[in-house]
Amino acid sequence: MADSARLLVADDNKVNRLLMTRSLELLGHRVTVATNGREALDMLRRDTFDLMLLDIEMPEMNGFQVLEHLKADKQLHDLPVIVTSSLESVDNVVRCIELGAEDYLSKPVNPVLLKARIAASLEKKRLRDELKVMLHRFATREVVQDYQQSGLNLAGKRVRASVMFTDIRGFTTLAETQPPEETIELLNTYYTLMFDAIQNNGGVVTQMAGDGFMAVFGAPVPRDDYCAAAVRTALEMIETMELFNLERVAGNKPPIKIGIGIASGEMVAGYAGTTERTTYTCNGDTVNLASRLESHTKAAGRTILIDGATRAGLAENAKVESLGPVEIRGKAVPVDVFSVELGQKL
């Protein structure tokens, strides 16, 4: 027998409800019932179900309306729904499928068909859930939501955002002096701490390469305070690294130093790659500048460097030091660069 699933039966007719419940319980499932569409929707929003068996002809809110609500609901739009009704026209059945119903079974429901359709729907749901877990593992919540809402759009769109590049100083030397297992463990801890700070401030990590990574603030979900969010994150990251280094030094390990470059402005954000293999990323001059600023932290002997646009996006009282126009590789004219004072709260 298939694993027991939590099913919701929505039907205004008592005889139909009892019979459907009986059939489903005989298949080993746990069943909750709703007597109309509105009640069903309330239950779905309160509780978690694996699948719903939905009648169409119901008072208060009919099955079509329930399907419309589900389609528009981010939390519920992928709940599998099998419509069970004795609709008289094929058009109505088509309408159910168009509104997102997974399947249609006409009443009286044949128990063998019921078993097969439920098993198939639950299997599809299991695969979808697995895919979701995978997506979350490889992408942030914001990127997953953007993907689920807008699909895979390889064209990209113009956004205004801040981009951050981060790198561990002297990582190669460090990696050469310790066993690779220790390096992996260090990187895992480092990434966990840094990604936590980024995610807490609404940022999205778009690329990881060795000990460096790129994060974006203001895309895919637009926000006005992207400059402040990026700099606040950078300050939190440095603070976290200081705590982390206390532990390392106590364990006779060398401290880890990082450099951060942030630039803000217009860029193209979206999925880059092919429909088979893709990554959410940002491109444009702003992105290149952020990468150059991160590199420049070594020459400048500073930890966090930002460009003029990012400075302009911060509050007046933010403590920054102007390093003046700086020649940046790849830039025709010198760029205004600012160093962010550490230890401040934005």
Partner: protein
């Protein structure tokens, strides 16, 4: 013509269990008179939506138990909707009530010996 199609009824018993089907029939006996009354009241209020929906529900229950004639009449009412002449609908409801009584008598015999 038998009021209940024995093949359908026996299939229902075989899949859902005889005892459960007896309980289900009793539920039908409790529910159907109120539904038939609702059909009359929907006709009196000229509430086409409710009229169609109640007929649809009765059809569905008739099909479940193999009450073919009853289900066919309920279906005709569902598809016909409200007639311009209310008297025609009242006649149809009366005929449906008669079909229900026949189906109920046959179901009682089948479930209560």
């Amino acid at each position: 013509m038998d009021a209940i199609d024995k093949t359908i009824f026996n299939d229902l018993r075989a899949t859902a269990g005889a005892e459960f089907v007896t309980d289900l029939v009793n539920t039908f006996f409790e529910e159907a008179p109120a539904m038939l009354a609702d059909l009359r009241s929907a006709r009196a209020a000229a509430d086409a939506e409710r009229y169609r929906r109640v007929a649809h529900s009765l059809k569905s229950n008739g099909n479940t138990f193999g009450a073919k004639d009853f289900a066919a009449q309920a279906r005709a009412i569902e598809l016909g909707g409200l007639a311009a002449d209310p008297a025609r609908d009242i006649e149809n409801i009366k005929a449906l009530e008669a079909a229900y009584n026949q189906a109920a008598a046959a179901l009682k015999k089948l479930t209560h010996g």
